[in-house]
């Protein structure tokens, strides 16, 4: 079992635990098999992740244009780092912002 983010959930996966909405209401019980409608309902109720049987913790991979590699992304991140040097790069939220900014830049360049 492992937490899988909403963007990486697929039809046919098996739930290892109940899925609750933000208020704690039960949406789908453990053991259920996901279908397309469930995915829509999860999004509607703001579910961000689900516990899936037989998976390790898994985040949706960064969406990169076809001919961009992870190295390219890391290079752009390095390039942008000086721009973030006063923001407090030790904090995970700032790191995430840097990653998002780099992703945006890479995507724009390859449009």
């Amino acid at each position: 079992m492992g937490m899988v983010s909403i963007d990486a959930l697929e039809v046919g996966m098996l739930l290892a635990d109940d899925v609750l909405d933000r208020t704690g209401r039960l949406l789908l019980g453990s053991g259920a098999e996901l279908n397309a409608k469930h995915l829509v309902i999860f999004r509607t109720w703001g579910v961000r992740e689900a516990d899936i049987a037989g998976m390790n913790d898994y985040e949706a991979p960064v969406q990169l244009p076809p001919d961009v590699t992870l190295e390219d992304l890391l290079a752009v991140e390095k390039e942008l780092e000086p721009f973030f040097r006063h923001a407090g790069l030790a904090h995970p939220a700032v790191q995430e912002l840097l990653r998002l900014a780099a992703t945006k830049k890479v995507n724009n360049e390859y449009l």
Partner: protein, 289 residues
């Protein structure tokens, strides 16, 4: 450095100088009074809005924009008042009025397009964050975001040479702009902006967020609102949605981040939601800048 001696400007002197030139239109006061009056109806409010053709058009376009995601076409002011809500309408009218007030100020120091792009993006991101936090009046966050850097405009009109000096000094010495302002003037643009809005009698839920958007730990009455604006400002700087006088991503206050109680993975979702809204909202609000 002799800059320290030459400097006589204080927050108060800047505000007084600004107030004689720029004032909120009488229209906003009338709207505010009517909305606050317990016995006024939607049609009273509509009557006031219709008086201002420019605003009517902007309100209609906003009501039809993805910001409100209404399926059917909103074709009358009274319908849009019902959809947007009266309190929210007042806030939108405020944002739109302030943008208009500062129209046509010299662009020597700051590009206005870029400035409003930054401000409006900050409003949109703040609004999305507020939606995530399940806050009830998200438009309030939108206005606070739009107005958060208004102090920079005041300083650009009243002490442009000083602003240029501060900017050069901050870039040359690798120091954040708002910190350099404080070093050279003993105040910064957030205080100036807050003071102007206060002198315009804008509610504290907006002025406080503007005053403390770089130092959210000092916000006493509205710490959550201030934290949201603080974060939205940083997000917009990071993604380079327009530019203000700040040239680097400002420092993030960790406590402000904690206060939102939001997982880091939410940031990409917030961006996904706000990015498509920015362009359209900008074109509606900043028309003709």
């Amino acid at each position: 450095m002799n800059i320290y001696k030459k400097n006589q400007a204080t927050v108060q002197s800047l505000i007084e100088e600004t107030r004689t030139v720029y004032s909120l239109p009488l229209f906003y006061e009338r709207l505010n009074e009517t909305i606050n009056h317990p016995r006024s109806s939607i049609s009273d409010i509509v009557k006031i809005i219709i008086d201002d053709q420019g605003l009517s058009a902007r309100i209609l376009r906003l009501a039809n924009s993805p910001l409100f995601g209404c399926y059917s076409k909103v074709d009358s002011i009274s319908k849009s008042v019902t959809i947007i809500g009266t309190q929210q309408l007042r806030d939108l009218a405020l944002a739109s009025s302030v943008i208009k007030v500062f129209k046509g100020i010299p662009e020597d120091v700051l590009s206005m397009t870029s400035f409003w792009q930054h401000s409006i993006s900050c409003g949109i991101v703040a609004r999305c964050l507020a939606t995530y936090l399940r806050e009830n009046n998200v438009e309030r966050f939108f206005v606070s975001g739009v107005l958060h850097d208004v102090g920079q405009l005041i300083m650009c009109t009243t002490i442009p040479e000083m602003v240029q000096q501060i900017r050069d000094y901050s870039v040359n010495n690798d120091k954040l702009y708002y910190k350099t302002e404080f070093d050279m003037l003993q105040f910064n643009h957030s205080q100036v902006g807050g003071a102007l809005l206060q002198s315009w009698k804008i509610p504290a839920s907006i002025t406080e967020t503007v005053t403390y958007h770089h130092t959210p730990r000092f916000a006493k009455q509205f710490p959550l609102e201030t934290a949201v604006i603080h974060l939205a400002d940083i997000i917009c700087h990071s993604m380079e949605f327009g530019h203000s006088a700040e040239w680097c991503v400002p420092r993030m206050d960790e406590n402000a981040w904690e206060r939102l109680n939001m997982p880091v993975s939410m940031l990409s979702t917030i961006l996904k939601q706000s990015e498509p809204l920015i362009h359209e909202t900008f074109s509606i609000l900043a028309e003709g800048i």
